[in-house]
Every structure is written in structure tokens, then in C-alpha cells.
Symmetry: D2
Subunit: 281 residues, 4 copies
């Protein structure tokens, strides 16, 4: 029998970093988690136990802290690019480096008029993400949003669908529509206006989610993707993944109470899952 | 051998409810999870398998939805009180009912000037909580906050502590202070101004966390509890529980880079845990 | 206004330790997570920022590793007692120390006839727990089980219960009974035969869960507690907490298929929660 | 601007099912979670809000229960194939169906000599998985293991690796090797001896993990994949993903205690992540 090692990769995951920048009385913080993966000439490690071409994942981790100490993290896409460049420049055995970054978002305490210089409150589960992949030939940059939980109470329907012998769902012109938006998009160039784009795409997704006359999750997801591509022309493609966090109307009529479509049971499972990719022509 | 059933209780946990109120074009939502526990005369169920005094937990759950459909949930403390009263009034076998409510918080989309009438975004992991306990004699109401993740980058020290043969920690006048605030307080009366108090206490905790010249977690926790009791005189007692979410300075000097106290490793475990109860005299 | 610090405690949580013992070719491992809490004279830390009586939680953590390196962990109750004694002996300011230990269980690989000397597989989510509390006067030892997930498909009924206007549950003589057993018990003496007792109690709980003709969760929970106290006379009291992991019969009759009580929907929430304490007279 | 819908899919996730089979006094149970995804002609739903080709995900869910009530689940690969066939046969608009199944494993209570007929205990977090993908042309079947947590205390080294200016890790010939095995493999044919293969592959992975003289995670991972392909010739390819659950030696020498490589700190993050795909030629 003979076997072929058709693919392999390795790296360090969940390297957590808080970078504080104290250039003035107002401190800035960046709170990120970094995943690094290498592809390259690692066959001898697998087949012979020869580690001479293996950069330890502990070294990858140290590199994150070393680079972050030399200058501020900046936009996560830029920090990802710095890491990718560093690893490619110093590791001839590596053919591709992928760096994924997930940024935990914090709000400055205080008010807009009187922002607190050094205190912050977490904005929750939403994450800003970036993925930078570099080879000897080219570097590609993607960005995204994860964990953005939203809900609307009007303008969402689901009817006119296929029926078969296992159909039980009632058609409705008025349902709760709740989802956790996951989005990822690709940039046309290696150095886009990342921060601005991210905020623009986020705004487009939220606004469209809120206002679109929805005939289904698919229908609104498509409109959201379209709005993102329309508002930010540095995007070439966007991928959306949206679970349908079902809110089941609780039937109180069996207790002699009028059903007024006001009382719902939020459920986590099972859930619908709708995904699509939209590309600019 | 003889054994005594010295305590017992039962109920339903995690009854999830979204209540939508559509009295005008602007919808209101309340998203809660309810835990119910009964104490009472349930010995026969345990010792003889006699269920005649057992109200099924499924009925407890249905009651949550039935009561929520008859009128809006309102403040969680009020809804807890309604549930407690209902169960005591209809269950002679029950001596005490405890209802715990955890409210998931949502922000209305749009701007302050143009709030969206029907779309919401989750504010994250922070929860508003309430606990109402009722017996035939009296009802007590507590409220709280869970999951309020905060961080400050200045004005936090820890030194002058005890040393022994296992001491390794370096003293510092400048560390990251991060914690997840859990607070619970008792109200003097059954019908306080719950919403206002909750916002006032939350504000007092956040402000004090941000501004207190901190010599330790204990020192700031005490000041936070004190501020809460000072600002809202309807509180008789407050309990705070604050993990120390350690952020370890990463030593880059071993790589020939200056340590400037800017690069930290956030850690989840192990964690310090500091708790105290402050009571108004 | 004046406030009183009516209670306070602090310590380190989730100190994780793997202790390997290599006294022969067959290695032994102990994988635990330790929580430590101190009570004592810490008012000055709270009110004045004076840390002179504060032993840092980092030192508590180091102590766990130092004591574990001096001799094997042994039974978790013994290791908890060693930690409590150490802290009381070296910290005059402390009035009470509580050490909680949660042991992750591993099975040795290989067969009973040919056990593997150095390789192990996790036995899952079940944990063996111990809690040791020491003051200047006395030490008490408790032990327990957490996360023991069990299920039975026969001999479990629930009927004859109270009905009211919100009753919807159908009575049944044949339901799925699934739960996650949490048990905690107190030992009569500070030095019981901990390992043997733990296995005996675990066996009693499992056997009774499996075989008891069940009229309700309460009914079986009581029988389980009784069996534990009967089989191990070193126990003075046992506390059981059992969620009812409902398995809802899925009604296939609406699709023209016979309901044969074979197809169930496991649900995580909401769940019934039943608790009781049984004490030896 | 014009955009293209380059990919889309939808379905239901986490459809949980417990199937009880009571053909004799000894009951059998199958506890699974099913994910279903459709690809097909759904453009009109996205672009026009036309649901006429959308089979609701609620109907997909009902189909799982309906098919499970008609005959026992059997091997998860077979149940996945039944679901795929059903959906393709009844949905002309669908071009591809993917069904993923995750099986929660239970052990029968009692002893081998006296197995309990109707009571079970969970075997933990390990899952048996299957993935069946069907189009109009062909069906492919994969299977796998998730969450298999293992640890060895001998015969694991890591040295001879690349050094650079950020290297801090010490070389070692004796470290703890712990990982959570995730494996997925493809079957040559649509109807392999799935149950037997699964147990054979699992045995090969465990044995090799335990006994392989390990120079790195890569080295042992490769040997594990090789052993799986060698022992079961119905496999064409296997993919392994193994995090390195680092156990850091705790340095007690700073406290004047001898370091004997016996005391370790298990850590969850950061973690190394090693992945490879091995294919039979």
C-alpha cells in the first residue's frame, strides 16, 4: 500500500492580545485573537519526524507579541498583512501563510461630549474579522463580521412555499425575523480603506435587514449582500451566512386567551441556515 | 436506618419569552428567560410517588406565556411578582415561590433622532436580572446585573501585599484592570422604581469602576458598592462578585525589545474572584 | 449614610493541574481544577486600599503547584485538606479557607488484561468533586459528582398530577427519563475512605436511576438519595439536583404514520429542575 | 452595477432525534443531530421573493422524524443516505443535498455479563459523524470522529526545530502530548461496512496515538492517518485535525523545589493546530 500526503498545514490558534496605546491622555485599545496557519514543505516532519523545517507554533505566538510591541496594531487587516509578510520573509520553507484575526469590540465609557480617557465597556459578542492570505505571488485580504444578533418585529413574511406530505408550517405574512449575521467579503486591492469599508458594510447590512420588505430569509439576505456591494466598491464579493433564529408563536387560544401574535418562544435549535455568495460582475 | 427529607424544591428553568407590544407604530420588545421554583408540601411525591400535589413544570411554563399574553411584561420585577402571586393564589400546597428572570437587552436600531420603529440589535452578554421570592407572609424583590464586561488601562495598582515562600507576582502601580461585573441588590419595598433604580445603580457601578483610584479589586469593588447604595436609597444591600480577568504583560525584553507596558495577554483562567456584601445601616 | 461590609471573600478559581506520577513503568495521572476562597480580616483592603493582609491570588495558585510537586495529589479530598491546612497555618489573618476541586476523569487505554502504561482517553463530562472547608475550629469535607448524563427508556411514568386552567401536558405511564445527575454529600469524619465511598455512591445512584419504578423525577431522586445513604454509612447528608432533560414525543400521526412512542425530540430548554436534601437521622 | 449570485444553499441545522427501538426486552437507542443543506434553483427566492421552489426548513425537519418513525435509524451513514434519496426524489428543483449527522454515543448500563435492558449512560463528548452528499449523478459518503480527547505521558518529543529571533521554547525529549482527535474519511463505495469501519479506524487512531514514538504532532498524526488507511481498505482518504492541548511544565525550582517534570498546567489557548490529508494511491 502507498499513501500520499495531499495536503497539510499547521499553526497557532487563539493567540490573544490586548494592545494599549498611550500616545496622549486618551488611551486606545485593540483586543484581538489571532490564528496563524502555514503551508509549505513539511513532508519530512510528517514522514520522518524531521523538524528542521518546522517553525514552532510557540514562535509564531511570540512573533504576534513582538510585532505588536514595535508599533500599534492599527486596522486588523494591516496587522494581518504585517504578520504574513514577516513569516514569508523569514521562512523559505513556507509557501503560504494565512492569518485570521477576530477583534473584540469595546466602547469607550463616558458620553460623546466627555469620553472617558481610559475606561471601556465591551460591546458584546459581535466581532470584526480579517483574513489575510499570502503566497510568494500575491496577498489577498478579506474582512467580515461575526455574531451580529438582530431582530425585527414587522414586515417579514413567509408564504407561497412548496408543500408536501410532511408540511406542517403555517403560512404567515407577519413573523418575527431574528438572525445572527455572519458576513465575509473580499477586497479588490491589498490596501483598501479598511476601517471605513467595515463601518459602511455594517451599516448597509443593518439598514437593509431593518427595512427590507421580507418574503423570506433568502430574499432579505440577497438584498443585504447587494446593498453592501453597492455602498462600497472596494468589495469584489460578499458571503453571508444567516441562521433563522426561530421565534415560535405560543398558542394561548387553547387556554381561552386571544392569540394576538404578541407572545413568542425564542428557540436555538433546530434552526434554518441560509447562505449565499454575491459577486460583482 | 432512617432518613429525613430536610429540603426540597422543584420548578421550570429557562422558560424563554419574547413579548412584542404593538400599541402604536413603534413596537416594544421584552426578551426574558424565567426560572421558577416551588417549595411546599411535596413529601408524598418523593416518598410515595403520589403526584397529587405536584403542579407540572410544564404548567408553570404555560403560565408564563398566559400571563404575558394578558398584559405586557413591564419591568421584570413586576412580572416576577405577578407570577409569584399567581402561583401562591392557586396552589395551596406551596409555601414559597421563587421566580428569577434574566432579561436579554436590545437596542433599537436607527439614531436617537430617528429611532427605527421595529428593528433591534442585541446589546451583548449583559443581562438585567430580577429575583422575586414570595411566601404566605411576605414578598421580597431583588434585582441585578450579570455579564457586564469592563476594562480600564490606567489608575489601577496592586502592591504592598503579603509575601511568602511561593510569591512570584511583581508589585505594580500600573496594571490593566478588567472584570465582568455581577451585582445583586435587595429592595426595601416590594414596589420600588425598578427601571430607574437599575439604570442608576448601573451608572454608579460603571462610573466608579472607571474613576476610582484602585489599590486592588477589593478596594474598587467596595467603592462601587458604596456608590450604588448612596445613589439609590431604595436599596438595602448590594452583593458584588468580580472575577479578575488577568491581562499578563508579555515580556518582549527577551527579544531585545523595550518593555513599555503596552502588550498584554488576556487570560480566562485561572482568575481571581473577589466578592463582598455591603449593607446600609 | 453608613454602610457595613457584612461579608467578603476572595481567592483564585480554575487553577488547572495535571500531576503525573512515574513511580514505575505504569504512569498515573490526576487532572484537576482547583478553586480557593479565603474569608478573614480583609476590611482594610476594601475600605482603605491597604493590602498588607492580602495574600495575592497568584500566590494561592503557585501553592497548588508547589504542594502538588512535593507529593502526589492522591484523593482530591486529601489534596483539598492539605491546601486548607497550609493556608490556615501560614495566614493568621484568615478565618476560613474553602477549597473546591473538580477532577476530570481519564480511562487508561488498552484492555483490562493489557492496560496501556502511559496513554489515556477522557471519560467525558462527568466530574468528581470535593469541597473542603476549614476554620480554626474544624474542617468539613464534602464530595460529589457533576455532569453524569443518564437516560432510561422504560419504567418511567408521570400522571395523577394537579390540573389547572393552564394544563396542557398529557399524562403518561411510559416516558423517556433523562437527566444530568449532580450530587454532593457530607462526610461524617475528616478522613473517610473517600475513593471507595465515591465509587459506592456513584454505583448506588446509577443503579437506582436505572431500576427504580419511577412515578416522577422526585420519586426516583428520593430513592437515589436513600440508596446512597444506605450503602455508605460515612455519609451524613446528600443533596441531589436533577434537571429533567425532556424528550418530547414527536407526533407523526399528523402525517398518517402510527405513533409508536419511538421518535423523540431531545430538548435543552426549558427544563424541569428537581432538588432535594436527604439527611441521616 | 450588476451582481451575480454565484452560490447559495439553505437548510435546517441541529435537528435532534432520539430513536428508541423496542423489538425485544432490550431496547436500543440512537441519539443524533442532523444538518440538512440544499443546493438548487433558488434564484427567484433571492431576487424576487418568490418562494414557490422553496421547501421550508420546517418540512426538512419533519421529514427526519417521519423517516425515523418508519424504520430504525440504523448506521448514521445509511440514515443520511435515506434522507438524501428522499429529498432528491421529491424535489426536482434541488441539484444537491448534503446531510451531516452527529451521533451522541451512549453506553449501556450494567456489566457485560448482565447488560441493563433499558438504561444508558453518556460516553461523553466524542461524536460519531457522517456526511452524505447526493446529486442527480452520484452519492458520496464520508464518516468521522469528533471530540476524542486523549493524552499520553511518555514517548513524545519536540526538538531539532527552526530557531529565529523570537524563539523561546525549550527543546524536549519528554513532554505531555494531549489532543482532541477530529477525523473524517471518505468511503470508496456508497455502501461500506460502516459500523465495523468506524470502530476499526477509531482503534487504529487510538493505538497509534498511544504507541507511536513521537517527534512532533505532525509525525504522529501522519502515522495515525496511515494506520487508519492500512487497517480499513474501504477508505480512500482521511483528514485529521489535531489541536495541541499544551501542558506547560510548571517551574517549581524558583521555590527551591526540584523540577521533576511531574507538575503541568493544562491550557486551552493558545493552541497549536495541525492538519493533514492522506490519500491512498
Amino acid at each position: 500500500m502507498s499513501f500520499e500526503l495531499v495536503a497539510n498545514n499547521y499553526g497557532k490558534s487563539r493567540v490573544r492580545l490586548l494592545r494599549v496605546t498611550r500616545t496622549g491622555p486618551q488611551h486606545e485599545i485593540k483586543d484581538i485573537s489571532v490564528d496563524i496557519q502555514f503551508e509549505g514543505d513539511f513532508d519530512a516532519a510528517h514522514t520522518k519526524g524531521d523538524n528542521s523545517k518546522i517553525l514552532p507554533t510557540d514562535t509564531m505566538r511570540n512573533t504576534v507579541y513582538a510585532l505588536a510591541s514595535q508599533q500599534p496594531v492599527g486596522e486588523v487587516e494591516h496587522f494581518g498583512t504585517r504578520l504574513v509578510s514577516h513569516f514569508l520573509a523569514n521562512n523559505a520553507q513556507v509557501t503560504a501563510v494565512k492569518v485570521g484575526i477576530s477583534e473584540h469590540l469595546w466602547s469607550r465609557m463616558g458620553t460623546e461630549a466627555r469620553p472617558h480617557p481610559t475606561a471601556f465597556v465591551s460591546t458584546g459578542n459581535e466581532r470584526r474579522t480579517a483574513a489575510v492570505t499570502g503566497t510568494r505571488e500575491r496577498t489577498t485580504v478579506s474582512a467580515g463580521i461575526e455574531g451580529l444578533l438582530v431582530l425585527r418585529t414587522a414586515g417579514s413574511a413567509f408564504d407561497g412555499y412548496m408543500k408536501d406530505s410532511y408540511t406542517a408550517l403555517a403560512e404567515t405574512r407577519d413573523r418575527i425575523f431574528a438572525t445572527v449575521i455572519s458576513a465575509e467579503w473580499d477586497y479588490r486591492v491589498e490596501d483598501a480603506t479598511f476601517g471605513l469599508c467595515w463601518r459602511t458594510v455594517r451599516g448597509a447590512l443593518l439598514e437593509t435587514f431593518a427595512d427590507h420588505p421580507s418574503e423570506s430569509v433568502q430574499h432579505t439576505l440577497y438584498a443585504m449582500a447587494e446593498a453592501a456591494l453597492e455602498r462600497c466598491d472596494q468589495l469584489t464579493e460578499i458571503r453571508l451566512s444567516m441562521p433563522n433564529r426561530h421565534h415560535l408563536a405560543f398558542d394561548v387560544s387553547r387556554f381561552g386567551i386571544d392569540n394576538r401574535n404578541e407572545v413568542f418562544v425564542p428557540t436555538d435549535e433546530p434552526y434554518g441556515l441560509i447562505e449565499a455568495t454575491l459577486r460583482r460582475n
